[in-house]
């Protein structure tokens, strides 16, 4: 079986690892730290053009039902959020906006500023009333910490039952495993339960957890907390990687490599002044004047060595590749489609 190493634990890394494992490769994924995927809103803004079926299969999960096609939801500050795919409780079908919404915050927790959000919705013609549940959660603590047992959810349901709105907007708080709680709450209250669409919170973390667990289910070995510190490139191919964990380095022989390290975050591309550079010192990088476009050069997906030679068995995926420009809000789509192309390139070789 051919061995492939995927560097990066975000959407591009996890999706390419999953595709390769399903294609019969022996896949190891190395990555550390929270990925940009985990900081996202956990929704896809637009329909994928390239590999829709594969993405739907990859994201399919019993714990997290998805809704697709022309969806609209409410952000945590009451603005409209449009997307193509979201968890079922985050959005409604275009045209299906609720007539009235109770905006239910948890105590003084900053996750959902109920008065601002309600005022924003009223301005948009959605009748909204602010409501604060009498549960105090410290501002830095994740809300889920106070909703860990049946009793807490029961108390919440009893509070929400008092409200007269058609739908109830809650702050985003449930983990992947607890997503079913929102269905239970909906059945119990007899009202539509909506989750505010929120970046830097539970939805992104849920998505990242889901992607990595799907990769593991497909047979991918995930080495978390570790970092590739060197790559052996000889005769136009990558042969071996040095992986550092703690103070110990282990060598991994490989037949192919997927670099999916994202933009210039801690283990992604280096920033040298205003220029981008390759942390492995092996590949050619376009340090574009506009850093948002810079990244690894590639020839049909294959990475290029510092001396201009195409590396036959190394491909890039996602945000680490140089691009013509990134469209605001579409990073996840681009990462997934780019991962698909990277895998096609490897499998075609």
């Amino acid at each position: 079986m051919s061995r492939v190493l995927v560097i990066g634990n975000g959407a591009a890394g996890a999706f390419s690892a999953w595709l390769l494992a399903k294609g019969g490769w022996e896949v190891t994924l190395v990555g550390r730290g929270t990925s940009s995927t985990a900081l996202s809103t956990g929704c896809l803004r637009s329909a994928p053009k390239l590999c829709r079926d594969e993405i739907l299969e990859f994201l399919g999960n019993d714990d997290l039902p998805w809704a697709t096609d022309g969806r609209e939801g409410i952000s945590r500050i009451g603005t409209s959020y449009r997307c193509w795919m979201s968890p079922s409780h985050s959005t409604w079908n275009d045209g299906g906006a609720p007539k009235s919404v109770a905006v239910a915050g948890i105590g003084e927790h900053p996750s959902l500023p109920v008065r601002t959000t309600a005022a924003m919705l009223n301005r948009r013609g959605i009748k909204a009333i602010p409501f604060i549940m009498p549960v105090q959660v410290p501002p830095e603590a994740p809300l889920s910490s106070r909703f860990r047992d049946e009793e807490a959810w029961e108390v919440m349901a009893a509070e929400l039952e008092q409200l007269s709105a058609e739908a109830i907007l809650l702050p985003a708080m449930v983990s992947l495993r607890d997503y079913c709680r929102l269905d239970q709450l909906e059945r119990r209250c007899g009202r539509e339960i909506l989750e505010a669409v929120t970046p830097l919170g539970a939805p992104g973390l849920r998505l990242a957890d889901l992607m990595l667990s799907k990769a593991k289910e497909a047979g991918v070995t995930v080495w978390d907390g570790r970092k590739v510190i060197d790559l052996d490139v000889s005769n136009g191919a990558v042969r071996e990687a040095k992986v550092l964990g703690g103070s110990e380095v282990r060598l991994v022989a490989l037949d192919a490599l997927v670099v999916a390290t994202g933009g210039p975050l801690v283990d992604g591309l280096n920033i040298d002044g205003r220029e981008l550079t390759d942390p492995f010192g092996r590949f050619q990088v376009t340090g574009h004047e506009d850093a948002l476009r810079g990244g690894y050069d590639n020839r049909n997906g294959r990475l290029v060595s510092s001396d201009g030679q195409v590396i036959v068995n190394a491909v890039g995926a996602g945000d680490c590749l140089s691009s013509k420009g990134r469209e605001y809000g579409h990073g996840l789509n681009q990462a997934l489609e780019s991962a698909y192309r990277a895998v096609q390139t490897l499998e075609g070789s």
Partner: protein, 327 residues
């Protein structure tokens, strides 16, 4: 240090086992203690609540900017001159009087001039002497004759965790004299191993690193989950997590991997002695998770994990107790 890299994404807050526990409300959180307090004077006055951290390194692992949060938090503890919590005071008194954090019950000292020292640590010599005897027998059986010296004292890690840097330094000096008589130091407590490597500068080895590669067997039937100790995986080396599973599977144990296996049990960072109710609550959360996974028990490689989870009524074994030499 590198706190200025913070992008305020909140990943550390979502990763923190204490903040995510219903009993953790008084902990100001890793961002306040590890990022804001070192930079802003007005955020520095967090008092004893700064000690409500288990030093599990989960925030540091989650940080997308690579901020060394644990180091920042530890430094703040050394700088703070807070009044001691009763549990921490008791621990300091024990160390002043007897050189260890708890009373020593272990009787099986071996001072035979071997080149290897087995350093069980205070919990192994006080509370879990069975664990210590098991690891010692296992080491002997795989051909590593060793001393267990009564002169070796607390490694000082618990003192550093409560900000007692001077007392910790005194212990370090006394221990280094003992260690100088040996070529090799083996521990069964990841907290001690981490302390010896990071603050003594000696290449101490944890038992799992020694056992890896030996022909071992286990008499254990049933399904066993892992409790992967924080200071083993995130402190010493992430490879040890795979090694732990591989060693046990190689010995014939039916190991069930669970997604929360490497989450903190609540036993570290001085929490067990300082805030036992929070420690207990974290352990109960983990035990619930293990129960849902339908396992017969949990295997770990840390005396604090053994102690803290064991109190919540689940069968917990150390690798030393789970394994024997294959004959």
């Amino acid at each position: 240090m590198n706190e200025d890299r913070c992008v305020k994404c909140g990943s550390c807050l979502r990763a923190c086992p204490v903040l995510n526990d219903p009993s953790g409300g008084l902990f100001p959180g890793p961002r306040t203690i590890g990022v804001d307090a070192p930079r802003f004077l007005e955020k520095r006055n967090v008092g004893q609540n700064a000690l409500r951290c288990t030093m599990c390194h989960a925030c540091e692992w989650a940080c997308p900017s690579g901020i060394t949060l644990t180091r920042s938090m530890l430094k703040l503890r050394s700088d703070a001159s807070a009044e001691r919590l009763p549990g921490h005071r008791r621990m300091m008194e024990y160390i002043s009087d007897f050189g260890r954090t708890v009373s020593t019950e272990f009787q099986g000292w071996r001072e035979e001039g071997h080149r290897t020292l087995y350093f069980p640590g205070c919990i192994g010599l006080g509370r879990l002497t069975g664990l210590t005897s098991a690891v010692s027998s296992l080491l002997t059986s795989i051909g590593i004759p060793h001393d267990i010296s009564r002169e070796a004292l607390c490694c000082g890690s618990p003192l550093l965790k409560i900000g007692e840097a001077e007392m910790a330094e005194d212990l370090r000096k006394r221990n280094l004299e003992v260690f100088s008589r040996y070529d090799r130091v083996i521990t069964s407590c990841p907290g001690c191993t981490y302390q010896l490597r990071e603050f003594y500068g000696i290449e101490a080895e944890h038992a799992i690193e020694v056992l890896k590669g030996s022909e071992l067997r286990s008499k254990l039937g049933g399904r066993w989950a892992l409790q992967i100790p924080c200071h083993l995986k995130r402190g010493l080396s992430p490879w040890t997590a795979e090694d732990l599973a591989a060693v046990l599977e190689g010995a014939g144990v039916n190991v069930v991997r669970t997604s929360g296996e490497d989450a903190c049990c609540g036993g570290g960072g001085g929490l067990l002695s300082g805030f036992p109710e929070t420690s207990g609550s974290l352990a109960r959360g983990k035990v619930e998770m293990y129960r849902r996974a339908g396992v017969d028990g949990v295997i770990t490689a840390c005396p604090f994990c053994s102690l803290n989870l064991g109190r919540e009524g689940i069968m917990v074994l150390d690798i030393g107790e789970a394994l024997a030499l294959k004959r």
